[in-house]
Each structure stands twice: as C-alpha cells, then as structure tokens.
C-alpha cells in the first residue's frame, strides 16, 4: 500500500460521509432512536475486520483476545439488528379501534 492508495480510500470515505449526511438528514425525529440503533448495527461491520485478524493461522492477538474481538463485534451486529427490528415493529400508523385492541392484546401476550 502506498500514499496514492490511501488517497483513493480517503476519497471513498469523504464521498460516503456526504452520502451519509444526505440520507440521514431525511430521517424524521420520531425514528431517531431506531436510526441510532440501526447505524449501531452497521458499524458492527467491524466484525469483518475482527474475523480477518482472528480466524487465521497465527492470530497476532493470541487465542483469548481473538475470541474476544469476534465476540464483541458479533455482539454489536446481532444485538444491534435485533433491537432495531424490535423497535421498528412498534411504530404503527393510526389504527381503527379494533386493530388497536388487537395490537394491545398481542403486546400484552408477549410480556
């Protein structure tokens, strides 16, 4: 790798930041908590990095830390997506009273 390569990566990074700002600014305030949790899950992509350094012949981190790094990143991915899905499932448009009772019952049954 050399500095030109670094510059290419920097280009990708800067463009992605602008795309991110554009896309995120369209998310309504009511979804800010799920948004945060969704982006949280997305940075779990570091799991790719964790696997690349941990699942090799001689991991530089040693066996314990290798397991730990994969654990942390996978906690981030799975936890992040499941919690986001759970939250988004709760957002409902205006319902008819019948639907509302059914929804409340389903909610109660889950507890």
């Amino acid at each position: 790798m050399n500095l030109f390569h670094l510059l290419t990566e920097l280009t990708v990074f800067v463009l992605a930041v602008f795309v991110g700002l554009e896309v995120i600014s369209k998310v309504p305030a009511t979804l800010h908590t799920p948004l945060m949790s969704a982006t949280n899950a997305i940075h779990g992509i570091v799991l790719v990095g964790a696997l690349l350094v941990a699942v090799v012949g001689e991991p530089k981190l040693g066996p314990v830390l290798s397991v730990l790094v994969v654990f942390l990143a996978s906690l981030n991915v799975f936890g992040g997506y499941v919690v986001t899905q759970r939250m988004l499932a709760m957002f409902k448009p205006r319902q008819t009273p019948a639907q509302a009772t059914a929804g409340a019952a389903a909610n109660g049954a889950r507890k």
């Binding site: 670094l6 896309v23 995120i24 800010h32 530089k60 981030n76 997506y81 205006r94």
Partner: protein, 473 residues
C-alpha cells in the same frame, strides 16, 4: 494457488463488499418514513450477511474455526438475548453497550493489524501505522466512554456529573499522550511503546471525559460516542485496506455527527460546552421538597378529580412527556388515559422535545411501545403554534424543556434553549414527584403561573388514578 484464480476470487469478494455498501445506504434511506423503516433494516441485514459470507472465503477455517465458532456463537447468543429482554425504557444503555462493543472490537482489530507489521524489527509504513494507531485511539475512547455512559444510564453509578479539581488538566494531559503516541508512530520512533501508550491513554480519557456528563446531556454523548465508533470502523477499513468498512464507518460517523449537532442545537449549547462546560456543576439551588418553590412563590396543588374533570371537558390536550415518564414506566398508562379521553371526544396530541429523555427519539420509542400511533407525536416546531389553542397541557416528568425562563430570562443558565411553549396553553397540569428542580438544578417559574396546577406523586400512579376518575365522569 494460481495468482490469477486468487485475484479473481478477491475481485468477487470486493464486489460483494460494494453490494453491502449499497445495501447499508439503501437501508438507511428507507428509514425516512416509519412505513418503510422495517424494510430498511432488512436490507441492511442482507448487506451484513453478504459481507460476512464474502469474508468467509478469506479466512483460514482449519486453523481458526473454533475462534469463529465461540466468538460468533457467544456474541450472537448474548446479543440476541439482551436485545429481546431489554425494556424499552432501558434502550439508551443498550445502545451504549453495543456501541462500546463495536469501538472495542475496532481498537483490537487495529492492534492486531499493527502487530502484523512486525513493528519490533522492521519500520512501520506511515499510512498503515498512522491509521492503526488512530483507530486504536478512537476505538478505545468509544469503548470506555460507552461503558461509563452505560453505568450511568443503568444507575450502577450516579447519573450526576462527577467533577474534581484539575479535571480538564488531566484530560488535556491524556490527550497529549495519545497525540504524542500517534506522532511517534508516524515518525517511526519506538513504535510499539508509542502505540500502546496512546491506546491506554485513550482508554483512560474515554472514561474520564464521560464522568462529568450529567443525565440530561446523555442524548449528546450517546450520539457523539456513536459517531466515534463509526469513525473507528472507517479507520479500521483504512488499516485493513477494506472499502466496505470505510463506507459503513463513514455512514455511521456522519449519522452520529448529525445527531450530535441536532441535540446540541436543541439545547442551545455547543458540543464543546456539553463536554467541558459541566452544566450540572452550576451551583445547585436548594432542592427542598414540598409545595413551595425556592424562589418563594407559591404553587397550586390540585387533586386527581379536578384534573380529571379539566381533561375530560377539554377540546384538545397536549401531553408533554419527559424522562420522568420513562423512569415511572408510565407510557402504557398514558396511552390508556389518552384512549379514555378520546372516547369523550377530546383530541390528544403528544409534544416531543428533541432532548426529552436520554437519547434522540427516546420518548417516541416509548410511546410507540405503548401503541400510540406515530402521527399523534409532534416535533417541537410543529406543536408550538398549537399551545395557544390548547385547553390543557399535561406535563409528565418533563422539566427543563418546559421552562419559560429559557425564553424570558437572559440571566437563566438555559436562556436561549428552544422549549415547548406549554405556558401558552389555557391550563397547565404538571405531574411531578416533588418540587425538586430538574437536572440542571434550575427553578422552573412555570410552576408558579396562575394557570398551572401541580399533581404530586409517582407519574404512573397519578395517571392510573386519572384514568379511573375520567372513566367515572
């Protein structure tokens, strides 16, 4: 393996990573309405699966299968269990802990990459050296900072700001050590000690910089830590030469930064002020309980029956929830009260201040959990013009975001902060535990207004009583 076959394989893997990047962007795009948001999350999950499968082709399974099995298995088990078991009121700390996990993982990946460069015996290339040490520093700040935020939110330690003399000096010194470490790695001088001193200094700095942050400032800090982990993930991408990490990290970093700025704006404070201002250190006024405020004015205490009558005969009621609603787990009772009122033909709306609660959008999620339809939830700018036409503003566990001093009194510490104009409603009812001032320790003159009545007690208990009283009317 032949070189040609090998590079074709890598080409396919890189292409898969590109698809992942597109999935993440589309996933976030679909979050622009609650209707499509679930689809968005599914697209994002698909992207993640594609990236992981593609990565699988680059791994040495025969050597490391057990690392992947234990790490992935345990991470998935704990993550899925926690995500399902967590109460919606505890969402901020859940997000904090997942965020910390990502930051910690990024710091460790960077350390491994750095050690791969054989820094003990050979010189470290400047680009790889600097990107790994930067990742380690930011990831470590995010890791320990998120853990402190978690402990505070979970109330395993005090939510009040922890301040001590020389705090800023200590933080500045730690930052200096981290920067010195980065510079030494860049200059190829004693790279190994430099790298790990920077890592350790950053970890301590992450702990210390969250300590003085009080509960009400948490929305800013959670967003900021989110953007740090995003940045750390992107930098991991630089260190590994992996575009999908760069793109994903950049998206998260942008999102976190945008939310941080929004939250700061909603408090009329700069992020620097939140981090270094120690808002909570503002001299605390006497937190005397009892129905007199410390400014000597009197407040009017009301009864459940009076409030119930007032609500039931209103045309429009606006509910203003705050962190107190989350603490009392009162969201389901609030919804029940709204149902009863709607049966009597009262229009019920909800006014959500951007920094109500402990993370951006916290109140919206709680009310959604209680089956409140999202079109009934209004942002501050949309609802403020409605207050003068509103019969009753019902304030449940919110304080500073309703303080008229923010508008009227230039000497107030929160002067200039945009607030919900509840004082313009015909009647104001405040549900509150006691006369304790809010987080900022600032008196709220709203409570002494002619048209304000107070209903003291636990928010959930009070609302349950109101539901009963409204039913009998």
């Amino acid at each position: 393996m032949e070189l040609a076959a090998d590079s074709t394989g890598q080409l396919v893997i890189d292409l898969a990573y590109l698809v992942t990047g597109v999935c993440f962007i589309m996933g976030l795009r679909y979050m622009n309405t609650p209707k499509t948001a679930r689809l968005g999350n599914a697209v994002s999950i698909a992207g993640m699966v594609i990236a992981l499968v593609a990565t699988g082709f680059n791994l040495n399974w025969s050597a490391g299968w057990w690392v992947a099995l234990i790490g992935l298995g345990a991470g998935a088990a704990v993550g899925i269990y926690a995500a399902r078991a967590v109460k919606m009121t505890a969402m901020p700390q859940m997000v904090a802990i997942f965020n910390g996990a990502g930051g910690g993982a990024a710091a460790m990946v960077a350390s491994a990459e750095f050690l791969k460069l054989n820094p003990d015996v050979s010189s470290v290339p400047i680009d790889l050296g600097v990107t790994s040490v930067l990742t380690a520093v930011i990831g470590a700040i995010s890791f320990t900072g998120s853990i402190i935020a978690f402990l505070k939110l979970q109330e395993l330690m005090t939510g009040r700001p922890i301040v001590y003399p020389g705090q800023q000096v200590v933080n500045a010194l730690l930052a200096l050590v981290a920067v010195a470490g980065i510079v030494l790695v860049a200059l190829n001088i004693d790279t190994v000690p430099a790298f790990f001193s920077a890592l350790v200094a950053a970890a301590i700095l992450g702990t210390l910089f969250v300590l003085p942050i009080g509960g009400a400032d948490m929305p800013v800090i959670i967003s900021l830590l989110n953007s740090f982990t995003g940045l750390a993930a992107a930098l991991t991408g630089f260190a590994l030469g992996n575009n999908v990490l760069i793109i994903s990290g950049a998206l998260v970093g942008a999102s976190g930064t945008l939310l941080t700025l929004m939250m700061g704006k909603a408090m009329n404070r700069s992020v620097t002020n939140v981090l270094f201002g120690a808002f909570g250190a503002v001299k605390k006024t006497d937190a005397a309980a009892g129905p007199t405020s410390s400014t000597g004015g009197t407040v009017r205490e009301s009864s459940v029956d009076d409030v119930a009558t007032m609500l039931a005969y209103a045309r429009q009621v606006i509910v203003v929830p705050g962190y107190g609603m989350a603490v009392a787990q009162a969201q389901h009772s609030v919804r029940e009260l709204a149902d009863q009122l709607e049966k009597k033909g009262v229009e019920v709306k909800y006014a959500i201040h951007p920094v109500a609660g402990r993370m951006p959008g916290h109140m919206n999620v709680l009310l959604a959990e209680a089956n409140v339809p999202y079109p009934a939830l209004y942002d501050m700018d949309d609802i403020n013009p409605e207050f003068p036409r509103t019969d009753v503003a019902l304030i449940i566990g919110a304080n500073d975001v309703t303080n008229p001093d923010a508008r009227n009194s230039p000497s107030s510490p929160i002067y200039g902060m945009p607030i919900l104009d509840v004082d313009k409603a015909q009647q104001v009812v405040v549900l509150k535990r006691s006369m304790k001032p809010g987080f900022a320790g600032i008196d709220n003159p709203l409570y002494e207004l002619q048209n304000t009545s107070m209903l003291f007690g636990d928010a959930k208990a009070s609302i349950d009583k109101l539901v009963g009283a409204v039913k009998t009317l």
